[in-house]
């Protein structure tokens, strides 16, 4: 088989763990049932969100059809997916192209830069298809059925589905490959790589704002008129976030006309061009960014007795285990990017667009009217607490804390530190970053919303308690089904279902409590007390479970 195809196939099998699942299932047929059960559980978990999304789309279609703007639901879906693919793509490309432990093993094989980059690109592409599925399938199907689309529409939709990730992923690859080429210099390679990743992200965010800002002012009445009167004018506006998506939007809404075909061809052409460009640049630069990237420089300086005194100070075992967790989280680039920096980036990303907007337009924020009334304050508090809960569950620190140990898990088994203490240390490490994330989130909220001190204080206290059950649930999930068998760190955090399960838990738990608050409680102090009570109660129950079932299961785990 062609080297490129063979490599792609091998990487795909390895990344998705296909052989491993097959091997397990061969030994025990129940493994298939387990996978099926898990898939069903996730499907049931996300079903309400999908239903809500579909309802929104259907309503949107019905509302926009009379003004000839129904194409917007398609373009919105395409833009949403393209933007997600672009941002996820940057993370995937950095992690999978550069940080993955096996990235360098391929250097010894007689392969060209584009072959390795292309094979890795293809694997990431497959992940992106999975990302695309829940977001794009609903608008495509709803638009197709409701507009009574012809077979050509469905063929174009399939082509669109397959081609959509190419351009954003190509665009994510290009700057990453260039910046990583130059980040692979100097002594602190790990640090440079992380900085490189951040620069790519910053560029991406900057580009998005530039594109958004370069258009006409959305508040201009004349512009709104053109939007509403011009067929698909709104679609053109929406697609400005990712200009090429416009062509696919037009192709799908005009599937039966020559215009549709022309636009589809432009879209596929642009997508292929982006891939070709990314691969061509990758062919020249990829290996240079990779060769020697794992080298670590050492000073080999003899330590003085003063150094020993300073460095070898003892601490209690639990604290020492906690410090070890923190050090490994911060020093492993993949963990730093995915578990730690998320806590800092999300509040920043939430803040920036609104800040830019407020400076440009000087108009009131949509929520400013809320801050005056107690009901509004309650809603804002619940939303901030909800965001903190979600942030803590999505950073995956506790829901991957055993998984991250991988082959090193045996150390936790033979050291004379009780499982109880280890569980506590792991919870604490999650809590530390949770607190940092919640505080930053609150700072972002304070910048955006003129909240009074009491509300700020209450929100902080509730957030600090609300994150506890989320952290506990994550850890419990990871103790029950740790992913210890991996060959690169990315699999422990990025390709770990436990993070998704923990997020689902937080959505169910947080969503339920916050729903009650927003729906029934209109006083911020009562709301805070209710949230403290309910999150506290769940925290107590989960803590009890961790200290009983969790410890039993921990002691049964083998590596």
């Amino acid at each position: 088989m062609n080297r490129f195809l063979s490599l792609t196939k091998t990487l795909l099998i390895n990344s998705f763990g296909i052989s491993a699942v097959r091997a397990k299932a061969n030994k025990n047929k129940a493994e298939y049932l387990k996978i099926l059960g898990l898939g069903l559980a996730i499907a049931v978990g996300v079903a309400p969100t999908i239903v809500l999304y579909c309802n929104l789309l259907i309503k949107g279609f019905d509302m926009l059809a009379p003004v000839g703007q129904e194409g917007v639901i398609l373009t919105l879906g395409i833009v949403l997916v393209s933007t997600m693919i672009f941002f996820f793509g940057i993370f995937y490309v950095i992690n999978f192209f550069y940080f993955a432990g096996d990235a360098q093993n391929l250097l010894a094989l007689p392969l060209k830069g584009w072959q390795v980059l292309g094979a890795r690109f293809s694997v990431v592409l497959c992940y992106e298809y999975l990302t695309e599925l829940p977001f794009l399938l609903p608008p495509i199907i709803i638009f197709g059925i409701k507009s009574g689309a012809s077979p050509i529409y469905w063929i174009y939709a399939l082509a669109g589905f397959l081609f959509i990730p190419l351009l954003p992923l190509g665009l994510a690859t290009l700057p990453t490959v260039v910046i990583m080429r130059f980040a692979n210099l100097g002594r602190r390679k790990d640090l440079f790589k992380i900085l490189g990743g951040l620069i790519v992200l910053a560029l991406a965010v900057g580009l998005q704002f530039f594109i958004q800002k370069s258009g006409p002012n959305a508040a201009d009445p004349a512009f709104i008129m053109t939007l509403l009167t011009d067929r698909n004018g709104l679609m053109n506006l929406v697609s400005r976030v990712f200009p090429s998506t416009r062509y696919l939007g037009i192709a799908l809404t005009n599937a039966d006309k020559a215009l549709g075909l022309v636009n589809l061809l432009i879209f596929t052409g642009l997508s292929l061009l982006a891939v070709a460009l990314a691969w061509a640049v990758g062919d020249k630069l990829y290996f240079n960014g990779l060769v020697g990237s794992s080298e670590t420089t050492a000073r080999r300086r003899k330590l003085t007795s003063a150094d020993y005194e300073r460095l070898a100070a003892g601490s209690p075992a639990l604290l020492s285990y906690f410090k070890k967790e923190i050090r490994l989280l911060i020093r492993t680039p993949i963990y730093l990017m995915n578990c730690v920096l998320v806590n800092l980036l999300v509040p920043a990303l939430l803040c920036i667009p609104f800040l830019l907007q407020s400076h440009n337009e000087q108009g009131p924020m949509p929520w400013e009217s809320l801050t005056a009334k107690p009901e509004g304050q309650t809603i804002l508090m619940a939303v901030i607490v909800g965001a903190a809960v979600f942030l803590v569950s999505s950073n995956g620190i506790t829901s991957t804390s055993l998984s991250r140990e991988g082959k090193e898990f045996f150390i936790s088994k033979y050291i004379p530190l009780s499982y109880e203490q280890q569980i506590k240390a792991k919870l604490l490490s999650g809590y530390l970053f949770g607190v940092i994330g919640a505080i930053l989130l609150l700072i972002a909220a304070i910048i955006l919303i003129p909240l009074d001190m009491v509300i700020i204080g209450l929100t902080l206290i509730v957030s600090l308690i609300a994150m506890v059950p989320v952290l506990e649930a994550g850890l419990l999930i990871d103790i029950l089904r740790p992913k210890l068998d991996w060959d690169n760190e990315q699999k422990a955090v990025k390709q770990n279902l436990n993070v998704i399960l923990a997020m689902l838990c937080s959505i169910l738990m947080g969503g339920g409590i916050l729903y009650i608050v927003i729906r029934f409680i209109h006083n911020p102090i009562l709301a805070a007390l209710f949230m403290l009570g309910s999150f506290g109660l769940i925290a107590a129950v989960l803590y009890f479970l961790l200290m009983s079932k969790g410890i039993t299961q921990y002691s049964k785990l083998e590596s």
Partner: protein, 242 residues
């Protein structure tokens, strides 16, 4: 002292018996070598002794402490060098040693002395402040050995400890094993290198397909071995596929 009583372990719901009814006693004051071909069950048994794996049957006691019933006390009795030294590579050598010292509650003053003398003995003083990631395989092995000895345990459990060590360090480790045993302590180690086993072990056991097929002292080996026959040929003969 290590007592292994009727220990068995199987995988795949009993389909593969990795360790099958092993009985062994490693006495104080002896170096006990554990030999066997690849996949014979050496590492599985060591993992059960150290609490990494749970035995399906039987019990294991270290200095009288049962690893299942009294795990923390049992774990305090031994120092363990795993067969793979590629762990905690993003910590510095000193951070790793400190971590291990904290786990075993080694008081600050004692750990300083011990760390310095062990680092010096293994010529690792200059590298202690650097990330383990920057170490060669042998250096990683050395830092594991030092980490296992920090709390001065009476029982040493070493899984392939000589792998990757340079001749000097290998010699030093063998000397240390001898000294440790001669002062009334226990050394239990697995190896592939028959010469090493023959030279430094007081007693040794050969395991094959999960079963101990030979266990005896140096003298017993010599009685077992025909004239001019080496341990190597005895090993090959015993572990040959039936």
């Amino acid at each position: 002292m290590i007592e292994i009583i009727g220990v068995s372990k199987s995988y795949n719901q009993g389909a593969v018996k990795a360790v099958d009814g092993v009985n062994l006693t490693v006495k104080n004051g002896e170096i006990f070598g554990f030999l066997g071909p690849n996949g014979a069950g050496k590492t599985t048994l060591i993992k059960m002794i150290t609490g990494i794996l749970n035995a399906d049957e039987g019990s294991i006691r270290i200095n009288g402490k049962d690893i299942r019933k009294d795990p923390i006390e049992a774990k305090m009795q031994f120092g363990f060098v795993p067969d793979d030294p590629n762990i905690f590579t993003r910590l510095t050598g000193l951070e790793y040693l400190n971590f291990m010292a904290d786990m075993y509650n080694v008081p600050s003053a004692k750990r300083l002395d011990r760390m310095q003398s062990l680092l010096q003995r293994f010529e690792m003083s200059a590298a202690a402040g650097d990330l383990i990631q920057s170490y060669s395989h042998g250096m990683r092995q050395k830092i594991m050995v030092i980490g296992a000895m920090l709390h001065n345990p009476s029982v040493w459990i070493l899984d392939e400890p000589m792998t990757g060590l340079d001749p000097r360090s290998s010699y030093d480790l063998k000397e240390m094993m001898r000294e440790h045993a001669d002062t009334g302590n226990t050394v239990f180690f697995s190896t592939h290198v028959l010469d090493v086993a023959e030279k430094i072990c007081d007693r040794l056991a050969i395991i094959n397909k999960g079963k101990v097929i030979f266990c005896g002292s140096k003298q017993e080996i010599h009685e077992h071995v025909k004239e001019n026959q080496s341990l190597e040929s005895l090993f090959l003969e015993m572990t040959e596929n039936e």
